[in-house]
């Protein structure tokens, strides 16, 4: 009797461990996308609803360069990142910068419109099919106690970590990074000390779209890619950013991981059908109770 309970306990532990591990790797992706949101928000005050589309572009461009241009993966991926970044640049130049009345409503609408446009063009150019990308280093599962992950999951976690470190370095130890931070604290003052605010806006879009593309490339071998994978990923990434208080550092990463794990546990222990609802309920709770995120300080608004 007690052995049965013991065995079931072990099985439950295995299951929970699997949920947690799966959640961590999805969470890492959410974190990367969330950081992309935060960077643009911090430099410009804009929430870029099209962020998810850059994730999609990363995967789709890589596929294009791999199959149509026949480049090897180590050339296709960086070229794809470059291509996505160019799209990000064009987006900022053509849609954001010329905006005469940058009210939140207008910005929300224009970024939604932009995301629809990018999605539609991708559908036209590449079709509606789903495509798979080859994983970076094979598909043999790695066993950790009773749970398994794939090598690709490790790639995701490592690359995310590298990007966080690079981010930290850029924002705290380079002139342009510090200039961008200055813009996020106080745009006017930054402009007064000679920082080209408009260029900072452009940089923020470039960096975010690049990061989004990287996220798309590392997750595509697991989740396959198609013209419409950006929508949900973008939304979840935004949740992660809110949880982390819209910072471009470690708190958003933690936010993403928490979101991924909670989502996974919810789906496993409560109900798989309502999995997405769980993520959004978490979002609503955070927005209601602690809109500055789990770790941020309360915002004050100038009137």
């Amino acid at each position: 009797m007690s052995l049965g309970v013991f065995r079931r306990g072990i099985m439950l532990f295995d299951q929970i461990l699997q949920y947690v591990l799966s959640g961590i790797s999805t969470g890492a992706i959410y974190a990367l996308i969330g950081i992309g949101f935060s960077i643009i928000y911090n430099a410009t005050g804009i929430i870029n609803f099209a962020q998810g589309e850059f994730v999609m572009l990363g995967g789709m461009f890589t596929l294009f360069f791999l199959e149509t241009a026949k480049l090897p993966i180590w050339a296709a991926a960086p070229t794809a990142i470059l291509a996505s970044t160019v799209i990000g640049l064009l987006f900022e130049r053509l849609a954001i910068r010329p905006l005469k009345h940058p009210t939140p409503i207008n910005l929300v609408i224009i970024t939604i419109g932009g995301s629809i446009l990018i999605r539609g063009l991708s559908m036209l150019v590449w079709g509606k099919d789903t495509h798979s990308l080859p994983p970076f280093s094979g598909e043999n599962p790695i066993h950790i106690y009773g749970a398994t992950i794939l090598p690709q999951h490790l790639w995701i976690i490592c690359i995310t970590a590298v990007i966080i470190v690079l981010n930290k370095f850029y924002f705290y130890h380079t002139i342009s990074g510090k200039a961008m931070r200055a813009c996020s604290y106080n745009r006017r003052a930054a402009g007064l000390v000679g920082i080209d605010v408009r260029r900072m806006v452009l940089f923020s879009f470039i960096i975010s779209s690049g990061m989004g593309a990287v996220a798309g490339i590392i997750v595509a071998p697991l989740t396959m890619t198609a013209y419409d994978v950006g929508v949900m990923l973008g939304l979840k990434g935004f949740c992660a950013a809110i949880l982390g208080g819209m910072s471009s550092g470690i708190t958003t990463v933690v936010g993403g991981l928490i979101l991924g794990v909670l989502e996974s546990l919810g789906a496993g222990l409560i109900s798989s059908g309502y999995k997405d609802a769980i993520a959004f309920i978490i979002l609503l709770l955070i927005l209601f109770v602690r809109p500055q995120g789990l770790f941020g300080k309360a915002d004050s608004e100038r009137v």
Binding site: Y41, I47, A95, P98, L99, K100, H101, P104, I105, N106, L107, V108, I109, I110, I112, G113, G114, S115, I116, L117, I118, R119, G120, L121, M123, L124, V231, L235, F238, I242, S271, G273, Y274, D276, A277, F280, I281, L283, L284, L287, F288, P291, V303
Partner: protein, 319 residues
């Protein structure tokens, strides 16, 4: 006020005469949907254009009204004329309760929160298969009827729906030019200043949120009885974006602008039918272009354009 009344009577007359002009064909069927969309757009405009609060989840209230009507009349056999207002009250109360915490948020945060809310509604419709039929949809919803007169043709539904829509338009126009309308616009411009001036901005925002939910619910009930079949797909994020587009393109804070936006967006796919793969692009491009070049919507942009190009005068400053 008198000029508003004249405008309304003119508008109503045209609407009532349209079936005689276009006959009983496909176009009439589309105009029925224009009626429903106008109701929804006007409701959203009150919240978005006048009070300045973004909602990306209004399709959820539309869906709630539709499902409540569908389930209570088909599965439980209640009288549709009784269910429709009951559903509206339920949805309105729900919206009020949710509105209290949600409207503390502003700008992007409010947008995201309402987006999440809409998605939660959609998932609920999709997953509660026993009640709603789930993704396969809910069929055999009865048509509305008065005695033995059944609303089962496009012509009859056209007048039924537009009757409701015209009432809503009248109420909205009335509201906009009343004291409440001014209070709403004060909240839109600067909430703190409004509060200083004695407007209970928080309560007002929640009230408008609830009211627009009530109207959306009524539109949902009418939709259910007209189509006799509903499925969650019509009540998702895509439709919320479509509604938003209607309001923006038509013109924020303009009731007739909402009609223009609704009509345009419902009729446009008809003209783009030849290029059906491209319509999603044109959609997104429209959004971007409208916001960049005509942020006041068509209802202000076209007269402006006329003045600038034809009359070669400067643009009139619309407050």
């Amino acid at each position: 006020m008198k000029s508003e009344l004249i405008k309304f009577l003119f508008f109503s007359t045209i609407i009532l005469l349209i079936p005689f002009v276009i006959g009983d064909g496909y176009l009439l069927n589309v105009m029925v949907f224009v009626g429903i969309h106008t109701m929804l757009a006007v409701a959203l405009n009150l919240l978005l254009g006048y009070a300045g609060q973004i909602s990306l989840g209004h399709a959820g209230f539309f869906g709630m009204g539709a499902y409540l009507s569908a389930i209570l009349t088909t599965t439980y056999g209640f009288n549709p004329w009784f269910v429709m207002p009951a559903a509206a009250v339920i949805v309105g109360t729900l919206a009020f309760i949710i509105g209290l915490p949600i409207l503390k948020l502003k700008g992007h945060y409010l947008a995201m929160a309402t987006l999440g809310l809409g998605i939660i509604f959609y998932i609920t419709f999709n997953e509660s298969v026993e009640m709603t039929g789930g993704p396969s949809g809910f069929s055999s919803i009865p048509n509305l009827k008065i005695g033995s007169f059944v609303f089962d043709s496009d012509l009859k539904n056209y007048y039924l729906i537009w009757l409701f829509t015209l009432i809503i338009v009248l109420l909205a126009v009335n509201l906009a030019s009343s004291r409440i309308g001014r209070a709403l616009r004060a909240v839109h411009d600067s909430e703190v200043a409004a509060r200083v001036a004695g407007v209970n901005s928080r309560l007002l925002k929640v009230q408008i949120f609830a009211m627009s939910a009530v109207v959306s619910s009524i539109a949902g009930s009418l939709y259910a009885h007209t189509m006799t079949f509903i499925s969650p797909a019509s009540f998702g994020f895509n439709f919320s974006v479509e509604l938003l587009t209607m309001v923006v393109i038509g013109g924020l804070a303009s009731v007739y602008g909402s009609f223009l936006g609704a009509a345009l967006l419902t009729l446009l796919p008809e003209f783009l039918r030849a290029a059906h793969d491209y319509d999603i692009i044109i959609y997104g491009a429209l959004l971007v272009v409208m916001v960049m070049f005509m942020p006041g919507g068509l209802v202000r942009g076209i007269p402006d354009l006329y003045r600038k190009i034809i009359l070669r005068k400067g643009a009139v400053d619309n407050a």
